[in-house]
Structures are given as C-alpha cells and as structure tokens.
C-alpha cells in the first residue's frame, strides 16, 4: 500500500515511477474447446477503480480467477509489482495481497461473522491457539471503519446477501490487501446497499488499493470507476478513462455492433385474466392489488427485497397468502402447490435458473417437458420421440442454439439455458406468465431475443407479469408498471407517464416528485 507515486504527478499522466501492483501481461487461457482469453493485457493502478465489462463469455470471470490464483495462464503471466508471478492457488494470491470478492459469498454459515472474516488468518498465539476476543475486536474495528453496524458474534446463517457481501469485503480488508477484485458484487443488492458498497469501495481506493470492478450494469461503471476495459470474445477491445466514454460506446465495444434494444411490438389488450385483490402475506407484503389483461405486460418494479418475488411465489402456489384474494378469469383461486397453479394456467419463471429452473443431468427435451409429462403421457409411458419433437418446436420458435434436443442442459450457454427455461413454461400453455428477472446474467444478444419472445407472447394473448430490477427493461417492456416499496404498492404508472425518476421515487418510498422526501 505504499504511496510511491511522485506527489507532483500530473493528473492522468502515466509516468508512474512504480510498476502497477497487479497486471496481466499477454495472457491466454484455454479450456478444452473454448479459448477463454487471447493475449489480454490489463493493469490495475493503486488508488483507482478499474471497471471490467463485457458480455457473458467475454472472459471477465476468467480474468478475475486468474488474479485470484484459481486459474493459471497458459501463456503470458500475472505480473505483480513488475514481476511475473505464478500463483499456485487462492491462498497464495491472498498471501501476496490480492483479495477477491466473488459473485457468490463463500462463507461458513455455521460460524460467526468474526470467524468468517478471519478464517485462514486468525489472530493466533502459540500452539495455534485462537484469541477469540481479539478476533472479535478486530472484526468490530473493520466494520466500524466501514461505517457499518454488524454483530461480529452473530452466526452467518440467515444473514442477508448484502450483509454477506459486506463480510466478504471485511475479509478482504482484514488481509490488508493491495489489490481488491470485485466480481459482480451488486447483483443481489438493493439500491441503498449498492450505495453503501460504493462508499466502502471508494474509501478503499482512497487508501491506495487498486480495485478491479466487474459489472454488467453500465450505470454503475460510470458512477464508480475511473477507467474501463472492455473484453469481447476473450480479447481486449479497449481501455479508456470513463470520462471519455459513453454507455453507447461501451455497448458497441462489447457487442461489436449497434444494437437496438427492446423491440416491443404492440399487442391487442383483452379481458382481465388475473386479478389480485388486497393480497397480504405477513412479513413479506401487504395489500397488493393489480390486474393483468390478456396481451398486457405488467411490470413489477422495486428495490431488491421489496417483495416482488414473494408476491410471485404466492401467485404460483409456492407460498400461501394470509388475506386477500386472487381471481383467475373472475373465479377465486387458491393454489396450494405449483402443480395446481400450472393446471390453472399460471406459470412462473424463477429468478435463479440454476437453483430453481433447470435440472442438470437432464437433456434439453427432458427439461422442457418436465412440468407437463403427466399430461403429455397420460398412459404413464414416456415416448422420447414425442418429447424431442415437442422440445424441437420450442427450440425453433425461441431460436435455442444447441446440437440437438438430447444435449445436456449444462452444455448450453446462459442465454440459451434461459430460453430453455422459458420454453419449459411455455409448454405448459399458460395464460398468465410471471417472469422473475428473465435477463439476469444473460448477454446483450440473448437479452434482445428474450425481449422479443416476451413481446410475441403478449401479442399471442398471454398476460405477462414482468419482475425486473433492470429499469430500462421495465420501462421499455411494460404497458403498466406497479412499483413496490417495502412490501406495499407505492405507485401504478402507465406506460405513457413512466420515467426512470418516477419509478425510482416510488421504489424508494418517496411520495411524489417535487414533494419533500418523508422517508
């Protein structure tokens, strides 16, 4: 962390006396059939937050894992302080001052916060004995320096994603790292939590740490980072200060072509399919009312944790509401299980396709037909040819790229996997389709296609509920936007009146633009 830059350095001049604390020099990395990186060079400077952007498959995650010591380069090397170093593993990288915060927190749920922060480098005495009080105090100090209140003696199990991320960062700080790598840290955070995270990252930068910030969210790149590097198909495209770039530039570099997002086609709005009245689930949401018509896309916006997924879960029969009613085609329904919801024509595409959406080890055809096999084969016996042709039909309609319907699902790219999930639910012939973050973790090309599919579905008469934290997506796709704030509906905004500011105000609980924020 030594500040060995000459104090009279001109802003932006690259005449640093000391070599960057961490860099990649002409690195290539191959995994069997895929060339993940080709001759990529990248340097991280102290006191700077460097953004790394690119589509899925561009190589961002490989860069992170190279720095973290999880992978080793095939050619080229990781360069630390000007010296090429071969990192043997994550522990080695950590010992050299590189701390990585990965997308998913890797904590020990049964152990306390303090222990998690110091795991692997606990303040120890002779015979390897642990000094618990010292450890707790040190952890408390770290959290204090981050202006965060966290009980170091609490067990990690049950803590929110945001808190877990914080613990990961505290872990990095406890190592006195000189290089901090953040891999998509804001994916599951609410806006406030993101702000808090940014403050902490800025503090860290001001201490002279070199920060690498990987993100899909371009607005964050401009908010937080001084320089940005774009990767495409494993190659370096451009590195430039963020002041000299626009979002459009970034997208163009990432995709290599100009893309028009959100091709929403107009649809004929029909009768009310789903009518939600005063739906309440204690501890999750209160008094939710909205309706969905055939051909309509109703957006559900709000901060992470506002209760949108919880509403969807109740509509799909995963959870039960305490009061209120749900009417399908005017008739009250109460789904006790997903299978009853499916039979009634309500389908839910969950947030996390890996955890909840897809069965690895099953082929595309088997995944697509899973919800409907009892219906498809009423005489018990499965006919693979029928499965395959059914799946092939959807694959064509949704333009799923694969080597065949028998290909195992894990061999597909993220975007194609998401399409398989959508195909699966389409096969249930739903009348109401609830999509929860359908383009999360999906690259721009596939994103456009998913939006096209959603538009077409609406046009064909489905009622669609679109839950999304991607504001531009919600604004562009929805006919009406319901905004939730802390479990309550704070606004209903028709398409014509919708804007990012209006949605954000409602999502953060502010009364109306112009009114003083009551909190």
């Amino acid at each position: 962390m030594s500040e060995n830059r000459p104090t009279n350095v001109i802003e932006g001049a690259v005449s640093v006396a000391a070599p960057p604390p961490a860099a990649l020099a002409d690195v290539s990395k191959r995994f069997a059939a895929t060339q993940a990186l080709s001759d990529v060079s990248l340097d991280l400077l102290p006191g700077e937050i460097h953004a790394l952007v690119g589509e899925n498959g561009a190589g961002k995650s490989t860069v992170v894992k190279l720095f973290a010591g999880i992978y080793q380069p095939d050619t080229g090397s990781v360069v630390l302080d000007g010296h090429p170093v071969l990192l043997h593993g994550p522990a080695h990288a950590r010992s050299l001052g590189i701390a990585a915060v990965h997308q998913e927190p890797r904590l020990f749920p049964d152990l306390t916060v303090a222990e998690n922060v110091f795991m692997g480098h606990a303040p120890a005495g002779r015979f390897g004995s642990i000094h618990w009080r010292e450890m707790r105090r040190s952890a408390d100090l770290i959290f204090e320096s981050l202006s965060v209140r966290m009980d170091s003696a609490a067990v990690v199990r049950g803590l929110s994603m945001a808190d877990q991320q914080l613990i990961e960062i505290a872990k990095a700080l406890s190592l006195d790292a000189r290089v901090l790598i953040l891999d998509e840290p804001t994916a599951s955070l609410s806006t406030h939590e993101v702000e808090r995270l940014f403050d902490i990252v800025r503090q860290t930068r001001d201490r002279g740490v070199a920060v690498l910030f990987v993100s899909h969210r371009l607005e964050e790149v401009f908010q937080l980072c001084e320089r940005a590097t774009v990767l495409r198909d494993g190659r370096h495209v451009i590195t430039a200060p963020t002041s000299e770039l626009t979002a459009g530039d970034l997208v163009r570099h990432m995709v290599g072509r100009s893309v028009s997002l959100f091709p929403r086609t107009a649809a004929k709005i029909g009768d009310v399919l789903l009518d939600v009245r005063a739906l309440t689930r204690v501890g999750a949401f209160r008094d939710i009312s909205f309706s969905v018509r055939a051909g309509e896309i109703v957006g559900l916006a709000g901060l992470v944790g506002a209760g949108r997924t919880e509403v969807a879960r109740v509509l799909f029969g995963l959870d039960r509401a305490d009061t209120g009613e749900v009417l399908l085609d005017g008739k009250p329904v109460r789904f006790k299980t997903p299978s009853s919801a499916l039979r009634a024509g309500v389908a839910y595409v969950p947030e996390d396709r890996h955890l909840d959406g897809l069965v690895e080890g099953f082929s595309i055809a088997q995944n697509v037909t899973l919800p409907i096999i009892p219906r498809l084969f009423p005489r018990l016996f499965v006919r693979p040819s029928r499965e395959r042709s059914l799946a092939a039909g959807y694959a064509e309609r949704l333009r799923i790229r694969s080597t065949g319907m028998d290909e195992l699902i894990e061999a597909l790219s993220g975007g194609n996997q998401q399409k398989v999930v959508i195909a699966k639910w389409l096969a249930t012939n739903p009348r109401v389709l609830i999509l929860d973050e359908p383009t999360r973790g999906v690259d721009i090309g596939a994103k456009v296609e998913v939006h096209r599919i959603i538009s077409e579905l609406a046009a064909s008469g489905l009622g669609i509920v679109l839950i999304s934290s991607d504001l531009p997506e919600v604004l562009a796709m929805s006919d009406r936007i319901m905004v939730l704030h802390e479990g309550r509906m704070s606004a209903e905004i028709p398409r014509a009146e919708a804007s990012e500011e209006r949605v954000m105000f409602a999502a953060t609980g502010q009364v109306a633009e112009g009114a003083s924020s009551g909190g």
Partner: protein
Amino acid sequence: MSQPSDASPAPTQAPVAAGGRPGNPMSGARALLFASARWEVLLVAILAVLIWAGMRISPFFIQPDFWNSANFGASISGTMEVAIMALAMTPIIITGDIDLSVESMVGLSGAVLGVLWAAGIPLQVGIPIVLVVGMVGGLFNGLLVTRWGLPALVVTLGTLALYRGLANAVLGTSYVTNFPSAFTAFGFGYVPGTQVPWTLLAFLLLAVVFAVVLHLTWIGRQVFAIGKNKDAARYSGVRVAGLRTALFAVSGIVAAFAGIVLALRYNSVRSDNGTGLVLTVVMIAVLGGVDINGGKGTIPGVVLAVFTLAALQSALRLGGVSSEYQNVAIGLLLIVSVIAPHLARQFRVLVDRVRSGRHRPVRDPVPGEVVR
C-alpha cells in the same frame, strides 16, 4: 427407454469441461444401454470371472440345473430378501434419501405375522395386515422426512431402533414356527416343474415392475428429477413431498414383504429377524451403480449386483471361506466398486494432461461452473 441415467457410481462430474461434448448423444433404449454399458459391462465381467473361478474350484459350481445347484441356488435364495429390499431402496437413494429402517421392518413384519398366526388368524388375512403395517411404517418415515424436513439418515436411524423395539414389544423373546406348508413352500420351494425358487421369481417380477416404472414412465422421470435438483423439480410442478413419501411407503411394504419371505423361508420368526441386513441392501444398490449422492442409478444394475453377490458368496463358500470372511470380501468389493470408476476417470484426466504437453498444477473448473 427414457432415462439417460448414467450408471457410473462415482461422484457426479458435468461433462462440460471435458471438451464440451454433449454427454448424452441419444435417448431411449439405446441411451440406457449405452449409459449403463459402462458400469454394467464391468459387473457382467466380474460376474463372468466369478463363475469361471467357481467352476475352477468345483465343477459343481454351476450345473445344468442352474438354479438348483447346491451352491448357487442356496446363495441366490439366501439373498432374495435383501435383493427385494434393494429394489425399493434404489429409487429412495436416487432421490437423495435413504431408508435404514428396512431391516427392523423385516423383524416387525415377521413378528406381527407370527403373533397373528399364533392367535389362529389364517395367513391369507395375516399377510395383507402385515403389508399394511409396512406401509404405515414407511409413511411415518416419509412424513418425518418431508413434512419436518429431517434428514432421512437420522430419521431412519431412529425408526431402525423404534421398529425393532416394536418387534420386541410384539413378540418378546418367544418365537413362532409351524407355518402352513403351502406358504413355507413359497419360502424355500421351487416353481413346480422348474428349478427356479419361488422367491427368485418374485424378485424378478418385482424387478421388472420397478424397472418399468423407474425407467419407462414419467413417475421414474420425476424421481430422477428430484434426485438431480429437488428445487427445480418442485418448481416444475413435481409433487416432491408426495413422491418421496410414497417411495418410503413402498419401501416399507417391500420390507414387510421381505420379512414375510424370511419368516416363511426359515419357517420361524423371532424379534431379531433381519438384524444386520440393511448394510447389505445398501451395498447391493451401490454395487449396482446407484450413486449414493442421488440422481443416478439403474434397476438392471441392481439385478446384476444381486447375481454378482450371490456368485461371489457361492464361489467363496466353495473355496471354504466362512461367512465372516465373505463379509470382508463384500466390503472390499463395495469400496472397489466405487473407487474403480473414479480412478479410471482420474487416469483419463492424467492422460489428457500429459498428452496436451503440460504438467502444471492446473485446477479444472468445478463441475457446473460456467467456463468463460
């Protein structure tokens, strides 16, 4: 056939990293054959070796009266109870659960049967009652596992003790014998006109039923789905809780049936009937290629494992090896059956690495990890 169930019993490894080749090029009967070919072929090979060894030891090892030969037939009959239970254990293990209480249900069912018989109730009435007892016991297991989310290992460890206790309570230290000969003939007799023991026939019939349901119907598809990703299965409308409970109920009924068979074969019941069997049951399943972590397994594999076990036991017996040492051999076989495919894979990885000209401490991507 519709399952691409990979019969390899080693820990799951996604095929992505290894060249991005699809791991399942076809579906249907060919797929099942292709996928199970790897493990079952090995089993058949082992079986063949054992039979050959047995023949070397004694020409009486296998005779034209195959099933009746003093050794193989005896071995087969002796393993029918565990074989039957292994059939029901297989789908339970595939869904990621386990049922350790089956051996105690054997004891309990025998005890109830004995008590009913001793009280003068004809077996035609007694047997259905006992099967219901088995079902109730299985449902109890299922309820605790699905409703309260308790780990199956722990629950069935408890019912292992509980049902044995019930058997003790029902029968005490007494024992019941002298079952009607019509029924005991089923236990140790043969299909008239053939040399096939009734119990073997029962096992084969059950095996066919289980194989058809597990591999050819959508019920079986749902079982595999639960084993591979329980949450995704639930989100997809699979009645996870119901199916798991049903599997436990089936296991209970089958264990009760096995208890009846055991009672009839020995023509006696004691409250400790069946003690020690559960380990052999699990062992047969694992030997048959069922992955203990769930998601994979085939019934044909289990059937082959039963025969392999019987062949091993008879070869050993012919060689003058006592039953205790036979257990040692079985234990070794169990461990080898899991290690061998794993070692084979490690070897292949090593060969790949050497061939690509590099020998670095490279870490391959974790299975399922997206490779960018």
